[in-house]
């Protein structure tokens, strides 16, 4: 049945059996969703966001629903790179798909040390999350200014022996310049977008909902903006781009691939429908058949 449509794609030399990847922070290390379906059917899984040292994350409310979306302020709670290497990798390995470690950091040194450790481990790819606030530059995220991002990517590139994906923030001053800077600095692929900086206020308490005041917006609400950014970046860079942002359906997947994406990530949709990964995959094969697409690679970038 499925053999008539080729869904397999390649990103930076790594083969994926299909273009669907679970997005970092929304899928744990895969085992919770594996209780519901074989998550090995996905092309790949991004680990929850790791930092060099374990982190407790933020206090207070961490998730908040918005119109066709949600905000989160988890604050990178994670067991740290070492614990991930010790136990997380083995857990993720048994799914049999591409294992992507997502890593953030608050200083250049953390990024470099973490990337060095992960390079020596059994991961398939490293996804560098540059949306984290940079402690040294007064909390401005690494992912805002292209020069700052270029520097951190260059440093990580030097130590990283795995295919390196750099995950861009939509809060970047100029997403295309940011992409070009990261490409120049040696990224093998780019993924975008991370969450949009956003705010909610509890009018009864007359206070921001989140202790940190701002939090990250994701979900269907942001899809049109994410698609524009992916399209604009794909027109300018040569490295493959992984599209992210409000992808809920097989139709959404095709939109991103037609905009030029090599693959896509599913994030918030997992919360709306815990079987989303498998269902979007099934729908994608069917939709391709209906649209006369025999190889998903043939429609990449037609728009």
């Amino acid at each position: 049945m499925d053999n008539d449509v080729n869904l397999s794609v390649e990103v930076a030399g790594v083969p994926f059996k299909n273009p669907l990847i679970a997005a970092s922070g929304t899928f744990g290390f895969g085992e919770e969703y594996h209780e519901l379906y074989d998550v090995g059917c996905l092309g790949g899984i991004c680990s929850k966001g790791l930092t060099l040292h374990p982190k407790d994350g933020n206090d207070g409310i961490r998730v908040w629903e918005t119109a066709s979306g949600m905000m989160n302020s988890v604050g990178l709670q994670n067991p740290g790179v070492e614990a991930f290497i010790e136990t997380g990798i083995a857990q993720m390995r048994r799914f049999g798909n591409v294992l992507i470690a997502n890593m953030g950091g608050h200083s250049m040194e953390d990024y470099v040390t973490g990337a060095t450790m992960l390079s020596a481990s059994d991961i398939d790819m490293l996804e560098l999350n540059i949306s984290c606030p940079n402690v040294k530059s007064g909390g401005m995220a690494f992912g805002i200014k292209a020069e700052v991002a270029e520097e951190v990517v260059r440093a990580v590139r030097k130590v990283c022996t795995k295919p390196l994906i750099v995950k861009l923030s939509p809060n970047a001053e100029n997403i295309v310049e940011m992409a070009l800077a990261c490409e120049r600095a040696g990224a093998d692929a780019l993924s975008l977008v991370n969450t949009f900086q956003a705010m909610a206020i509890d009018i009864r308490k007359r206070k921001p909902v989140f202790n940190n005041v701002y939090a990250g917006l994701s979900g269907a609400a942001i899809k049109p903006i994410a698609l524009r950014m992916v399209h604009a970046v794909c027109k300018q860079v040569r490295v493959p781009v992984i599209g992210i942002g409000g992808i809920y359906t097989a139709e959404d997947v095709l939109e991103f691939i037609m905009a030029g994406a090599a693959a896509v990530q599913l994030g918030t949709v997992n919360f709306n429908n815990p079987l989303a990964g498998r269902e979007v995959l099934d729908d994608l094969a069917q939709l391709c058949r209906r649209e006369g697409i025999t190889d998903i690679n043939e429609i990449r970038g037609v728009c």
Partner: protein, 245 residues
């Protein structure tokens, strides 16, 4: 834990804002104190809603919920025959197997319904169960507790029914081996403090905003004495002495 399609067989308004829904689904694996993530919409609301098991029966689950916002309002529109999605059972539930002797269940508001299945389970295990149920003004679910409880204490804030005041005024923790509580945080904090004073074991069932409900997103994490815990997976039931409130 499974993602199921259930069918609504009853969805009934009990008070101004409290509804009870009966959902036929297979399999029913829920234990006392566990909850399900529910949705009666497609993507109009992004997230599913955590609602505790009120009663679990062969082939069906009962949930009792207060209409507070858009999601629960939509749930109140459900009619017989409508489909509803259920993800669960989620969470740890109360450790009923380990509980012996005399137990007090202390519930407040929509913290009351989750204690009903708990009362049943404990009573059937041979435990003596007393229920302390604190309401704002209008009672609900009282008759559902009756079969399982030895003594029942009721309070309302202004004394419309039962004792006038807070339900914690009536509780004497020293009379019990274990106290299980679910309800507003202020109430549970008070119960926990009273139990601590008399060295009585106390379990609290927490609420927290949730996205995944199954432990993957860390949206519901809280700081406890043994580190960060996920309310949805490691809880919602915690030993009061573990909590840091």
């Amino acid at each position: 834990m499974k993602y199921l399609v259930g069918e609504v067989s009853v969805n009934q308004q009990i008070t101004d804002d409290i509804w009870v829904v009966r959902v036929s689904c297979e399999p029913v694996e829920a234990k006392a104190g566990q909850f399900y993530m529910l949705k009666s919409w497609d993507t109009e609301q992004t997230l599913m809603r955590p609602i505790s098991v009120f009663k679990a029966e062969e082939g069906c689950l009962w949930f009792m919920y207060r209409v507070v916002g858009q999601g629960t309002r939509r749930m109140s529109f459900l009619e017989k025959g409508d489909a509803i999605r259920l993800l669960g059972p989620c969470g740890n539930g109360y450790p009923c197997e380990q509980i012996k002797g005399r137990v007090a269940l202390v519930g407040g508001g929509v913290g009351i319904p989750p204690l009903c299945e708990t009362a049943k389970t404990l009573q059937r295990n041979g435990v003596t169960v007393d229920a302390y149920l604190g309401y704002r003004d209008v009672l609900f679910a009282v008759e559902d507790f009756e079969p399982w409880c030895t003594d029942m204490f009721i309070s309302t804030e202004k004394g419309e029914e039962g004792y006038k005041g807070f339900i914690t005024d009536l509780l004497k923790p020293e009379q019990y081996d274990v106290v299980l509580t679910c309800g507003p945080e202020v109430m549970m904090r008070k119960v926990a403090a009273m139990c601590a004073e008399h060295d009585v074991t106390c379990y609290c069932s927490l609420e927290h905003r949730m996205a995944c409900g199954i432990g993957a997103c860390l949206g519901c994490s809280i700081r406890t004495k043994s580190g960060m815990k996920r309310v949805c997976k490691d809880g919602p039931v915690f030993l009061s002495t573990e909590l840091m409130w």
